[in-house]
Symmetry: C2
Subunit: 372 residues, 2 copies
């Protein structure tokens, strides 16, 4: 087996769990936020900077790397770890979500998805087998099965057919996967916003016995309350002895809800994307450095933070960098935001250890304020 | 006196000199290339990264900082060193060159230069007194007197009048300078491409007894041969016991000629600008990473280089980053190019020490190839 999951402890105050995943490239303490390095680089960061803030695992995007520079090149370079000089664990997605996002540029059949590249208009065909071929070439520690992610809203019959195809594609993914001893393949539970369909999907995928499971099809535009409702009833359907991954979550409120529901891993481009737009996540809530009030504010981004940006620079200086589109501005805010979510993950693990995750959540929100 | 210059040794093979400048923020070994941090940041770099490649002194631009974020803010922050978190020496220019570059947006009189901001169209008036006020507020270790830089070509009568005004402005700069004990003010020798006018300018400025001198009005579009001719006859006009600075030079060929002529300091945005455009300076000459031949080239940018980029990444990966406009690509190439010029400066100092600068130049060009 490529990975080993240990359930260390369950929180007595919530459904949260403290765990540990051992991968070929190192150990991951869960629950954990995973920074996203879409194109074989976490935007604006070096691997050393990622390690300084104690990044445990990166996510990279199969679809983007398939198109450019191509998985054959990365395989020739010795795999994704070597290509990008990151020796820690890497998770790759299946490419499915990106392919479906192409909307009018793609066509879905039982065999797979045909699409035109947004880069040069060239025709491509993505299948479970192709996704495995690409992810095997990349050499990620954790791979995702090729799934269909239905839009929101979608009618029940469509979602049922879709999840059943996702199960068949999961089976084909498993069969096509060449390196189960060094790369763990996760199944993705679909079923939209329908409890019985989530149950059906979970049951079918669990029969295929993947080393880990993800919840897909959430954070696709549904109301927050609905998302949390689905999350709360779906997570308990997942095996206890395997890691659980919620895709596309990267704000404190969703991270708390995910952890409380018993999720172990989550990822999102949001913290790095808003950093490049001048926004910092702080213990007092989000702030946008473009705001005029920071012009002569000589305090750090967050006085509770000890990241490189907060140890060395003022809001006034970072605001100047942001206003002038200086690369250092994007760098400092990216370091800060990723550190914020990694420290939040750390604090959540500590709270689980002490059976007080709900208390910690309340303390956190007293400062942070409520986010819709 | 704010700075102290020691002439350690003259090269027996050329006019080059090994020296040392002691400033309030540290010692500078000369000849030295100075990276440019136009807007209080060397684009894409942190101060720690600049130190790792042994940057000894930075240049920053008075005109840009005056417009945004404003020198009053930087003074309030505790000066430019503190604002940008760089505790080494800083040189600021006078703002003159940038103001004159505005072309149709400015009007020159004996009093100073009136111009409209390219930012918001607002009207500004720059004078020697204003330039000193701004540079005093920034707190740079080395300041430049406010000068007029004539264009190329320009007729002799215009250049004569211009240099005479530059002398009067230099006198006014000196009189307006508030901190001569902590900030050294350099005079700028003008005189265009006319030897007698360079002599006149040098003579007039030397009478004003500045702690250092620069050659202005070169690298403004004249042919390379002419530039080197002017450089070769102007440098010997400068005092031996004070630092000599050639403005706007940042390619190996000009750096060699400057050092050989007896210049101690030089700066240019070129290495950082071409880095962001995908170009690396290497011991084999310049290479552009966008070139298809680097697609699967798994060797470092320069096999004689030991910078962070060359120790850890391949041309293939950096090419991918450059093609995808990833910030890390700009970062790696900037580190590499600045390191290249700083190591070149170091090798030049070593060659002067061993009385073999002309030999070293020949060895360098054998690999580098000739650059027009």
């Amino acid at each position: 087996m490529a990975i080993k999951y240990e359930l260390i402890k369950e929180c007595k105050q919530s459904g949260a769990r403290l765990g540990r995943i051992t991968t070929p490239h190192g150990v991951i303490e869960t629950p954990i936020f995973m920074p996203v390095g879409t194109k074989a680089t976490v935007k604006a960061m070096t691997p050393e900077e990622l390690k300084e803030i104690e990044t445990q695992i990166l996510l990279s995007n199969t679809f983007h790397l398939y198109l450019r520079p191509g998985h054959e090149l990365i395989e020739k370079a010795g795999g994704l770890h070597k290509f990008m000089n990151w020796d820690g664990p890497i998770l790759t997605d299946s490419g499915g979500f990106q392919v479906f996002s192409l909307d009018k540029l793609r066509e879905i059949t039982e065999e797979g998805v045909e699409f035109r590249s947004f880069v040069d208009g060239s025709k491509h065909f993505f299948t479970p087998e192709k996704s495995m071929e690409v992810q095997n070439a990349l050499g990620s520690d954790i791979m995702m099965a090729f799934d269909e992610c239905p839009p929101y809203p979608a009618d029940k019959e469509y979602v049922r057919k879709s999840l059943e195809m996702t199960t068949r594609w999961a089976k084909r993914s498993k069969d096509a996967h060449k390196n189960p001893e060094t790369q763990a393949l996760f199944g993705i539970i679909q079923g939209g916003m329908f409890r019985d369909l989530r149950e059906q999907s979970a049951k079918e995928l669990i029969e295929l016995d993947f080393p880990g499971y993800a919840i897909g099809g959430l954070s696709v535009g549904e109301p927050k309350e609905l998302m949390i409702e689905v999350l709360k009833y779906t997570t308990p359907m997942m095996p206890k002895d395997k890691p659980r991954y919620l895709m596309g979550v990267g704000t404190p409120d969703y991270i708390f809800e995910a952890a409380i529901s018993g999720i172990d891993m989550f990822d999102c481009v949001l913290p790095t994307r808003i950093a490049r737009n001048g926004t910092a996540m702080t213990s007092q809530g989000r702030i946008n450095l473009k705001n005029a009030k920071f012009f002569d504010d000589f305090t750090p981004l967050d006085d509770e933070c000890d990241c490189y940006a907060c140890r060395n620079y003022t809001k006034s200086y970072i605001r100047h960098l942001v206003k002038e589109n200086e690369i250092l501005g994007a760098r400092l805010l990216t370091i800060h935001n990723l550190n914020f979510l990694l420290r939040l993950s750390e604090n959540i693990r500590e709270a689980i250890k002490n059976d007080r995750l709900l208390d910690y959540k309340e303390e956190f929100y007293k400062k942070y304020g409520y986010i819709k």
